[in-house]
Amino acid sequence: MKNALWCAGVAVALCLSGQEPAPQAVPKKGGSLLDQAGSDDKHVVDPEAAERGRKTYIAECITCHGSTARGAQNGPDLVRSLTLLHDRYGSTIGPFLKKGHPTQSTPSGDLSEAQVKDLAHFIHARLDDTLRTSPTFHAQNILTGDARAGEAYFNGVGGCSGCHSAAGDLKGFGGKYDAIDIQQRFMFPRTGFGRGHKQTMVTVTLASGASFTGTLDKIDDFDVSLRDADGVYRSWARTSAVTVKVDDPFEAHHRLLDSIGDKNMHDVTAYLEGLK
């Protein structure tokens, strides 16, 4: 997705300038790590040019190199070829084609410079498809579980019904989220897509017997802090004279991780998805 946005941004810049992007046109030191991958002057795909290049690819290349340019029975993988990886806007693909191509049906001289550039954009776009942030990568079918078995687990050994119910807090749950979001929410309520809204509570008891309960602000091996019901911040050093009891509302979910197994996880996903 980031790449797509990046490419779209470059396309806008192209429209404004009416030129091929200059090699250093795209600042790269910031952004995601993947945006930094490769050379600063690497080929930046112009989606419109890639679409034009698609026509040339279909006419000239697809039979041997396949629809994704990853190679087929009669032709090698293009997106992993050094000719492409060293290419900038046709700089190596052009000379390669001009020199002659063993199975080329159209003589290379028949491709104009513009066609070579467009073709380069198309094949570089297929290279981008293989990158880990490519929008071509997304979850497939998550709903493989048995909803009835999931319901039995929910109400039985899973212990979920101790806190949740289909008619109560989970009413309509399945209609609110995609299947993968549902799976992430119940497996990892704090850090998954759920990012649980429930606060962790803490009670700090001093040697005097005085006790303070509130929302956990921060805890480490040496200090603990909370905000009490009035919103007042308090903190203590964790000495031997201080007892700290943390109440994590998601503890039952964490305990499930060791026991649930993949089948129950898929079954519960199917059950929750059906709560519409």
């Binding site: 600063d40 290279l127 880990r132 993968i180 480490d220 091996d221 649930i260």
Partner: protein, 504 residues
């Protein structure tokens, strides 16, 4: 000068006041024989100086070297020389980058008057230690294939040993020896074997092997008596979708021993056969001269990203200990060599498979430590779950083809008995874990950090926390110890700062 430097490295303890190579010495133990700071006075440890790298966005992940009262540290495209007494900058070298992933730089190597470091744009650069001026640079990888370089080089005899990084375009991993005077190639070892070579049978075809990954971005250890170097190799590629590379995928995700002068492989051990979870096996190989069943043995120990701790005979590679150091769920048994047999059901699945550890692993690049006095191996460990999804269902996936999502984790400092793999003591981090390495010292101390920004000293024997200071940023490298002017210093990186502590 070169001979003197070698003496420091080989003897390890001969000139105990220095930290002349990435791991302190060639063993990878990160054990300082200094004991001026010990369990009795560590409570008086106090800040002596702070050096801020003064370069936007930079984090000190590198282990500094300390040689002759000067510290040498690095981050991507940057090297600094800093006075080890005062934290004052002596010089700063900036490399004009042509690109590459700027995720981190582990450190530099020094021999004589020359310093060596790798850059994200695939260069091995040599500087003059006097003023930081460049002597030469040599390309060690192809930026267009999305390789990059982040490793701390190691000097062994007349070799500068370098590894490479890159996980995006299904590229083969390799490891090289370069000439210290010119940077020219001396030998090249390919992680993935070619057709006809041993190990090739663990790949389905030449194309899969030629794009099989196995980056060499971890530290190197060295046994001068055996003249063997030891390091780990990264995950195979494509990273997550492994259906196009059926087999064990040697020598990815392995520990290997090579002849230092020729690069010829002496043995291998593969902790993660046919990895599909991004579990680079590039954690530090720690050389232990220990005792097994009453007999002195040359050993190698590694706490791997996959959650398992292994002890091997470093002469032969034969396995002695295979044991989890955190609970995992991806292994269904051990083979005859002591290697885990992966449970196929825990490979990434279309509908998700719940796996522990997660992608980040039970351990990662932050180095562990070993204390010969306690016989304990110390590692910052994470127990984590995530769900692994397969996205690319084709016969020939490329790139990653899937990923893991979500997660829950807990972090702890584990002290492992190298003879058995048993956890002797464990300290759970209530403030979460940090990407922090570990220093052990002869003062019976362990230094490391937590997720809340605390820099902590533990009693190495029982795990009791004896001292801490909150540094505002998490400890971001592995601490070191050295002695100048008769005073022991402990130096640690935290965010954009390097901090020196001592007992006055």
């Amino acid at each position: 000068m070169k001979k003197a430097a070698c003496a420091v490295l080989i003897a390890g303890t001969l000139f105990a006041q220095t930290w002349p190579t990435y791991s302190g010495d060639y063993t990878g133990r990160r054990f300082s024989p200094l004991k001026q700071i010990d369990t009795s006075n560590v409570k008086a440890l106090s800040l002596a100086w702070i050096y801020r790298v003064n370069s936007p966005g930079q984090v000190v992940k590198s282990t500094p070297l300390e040689i002759g009262g000067i510290l040498y540290l690095s981050s991507p495209d940057n090297v600094w020389a800093v006075d080890a007494r005062s934290g004052r900058e002596i010089w700063h070298h900036t490399h004009q980058s042509k690109g590459g992933i700027h995720i981190g730089n582990r450190g530099v190597a020094v021999t004589g008057n020359w310093l060596y470091f790798e850059t994200p744009d695939c260069q091995l650069v040599s500087l003059n230690t006097k003023d930081g001026k460049e002597r030469w640079h040599q390309s060690i990888c192809d930026l267009d294939r999305m390789y990059y370089a982040s490793v701390a080089p190691v000097i062994v005899k007349n070799h500068v040993l370098v590894g490479v990084s890159g996980d995006d375009l299904d590229i083969p991993g390799y490891y090289e020896s370069r000439d210290p005077e010119t940077g020219e190639l001396q030998w090249h070892w390919s992680v993935v074997p070619k057709k006809g070579e041993p190990g090739f049978e663990t790949w389905p075809n030449e194309d899969a092997a030629a794009h099989g990954g196995g980056m060499t971005w971890g530290p190197t250890s060295y046994d001068p008596e055996l003249n063997l170097i030891y390091f780990g190799t990264g995950n195979p590629q494509p990273v997550v979708a492994g259906q196009g590379r059926v087999g064990d995928n040697l020598y990815t995700a392995s520990i290997v021993a090579l002849n230092a002068d020729t690069g010829k492989m002496a043995w291998y051990f593969q902790p993660s056969p046919h990895d599909t979870h991004d579990w680079d096996n590039v954690e530090a190989p720690v050389l232990i001269d220990g005792t097994i069943e009453g007999k002195p043995r040359k050993l190698l120990a590694m706490a791997c990203r996959n959650g398992w701790f292994f002890v091997l005979d470093r002469v032969t590679g034969k396995n002695i200990v295979s044991k989890e150091y955190v609970k995992t769920n991806w292994v269904k048994g051990l083979d005859g060599r002591g290697q885990p047999i992966p449970n196929n059901a825990k490979e990434p699945q279309i509908d998700g498979s719940l796996v522990s550890p997660n992608q980040g692993g039970a351990a990662n690049w932050p180095p562990p430590a070993y204390d010969p006095d306690t016989g304990l191996f110390y590692v910052n460990a994470t127990r984590a779950f995530s769900i692994w999804y397969l996205y690319d269902l084709s016969d020939k996936p490329e790139g990653w083809g899937g990923t893991d999502r979500g997660g829950w984790s807990e972090a702890m400092l584990q002290a492992i008995d190298y003879k058995t793999g048993a956890i002797r003591w464990s300290h759970k981090w209530d403030g979460g874990g940090a990407r922090a390495g570990i220093l052990s010292t002869a003062g019976n101390l362990i230094f490391t950090g937590d997720g809340a920004g605390n820099f902590v000293a533990f009693d190495a024997r029982d795990g009791k926390a004896l001292w801490h200071a909150n540094l505002a940023s998490q400890v971001s490298n592995a601490p070191i110890a050295y002695e100048v002017d008769g005073s022991e210093y402990v130096v640690v990186g935290a965010g954009d700062s390097l901090l020196g502590f001592t007992v006055h």
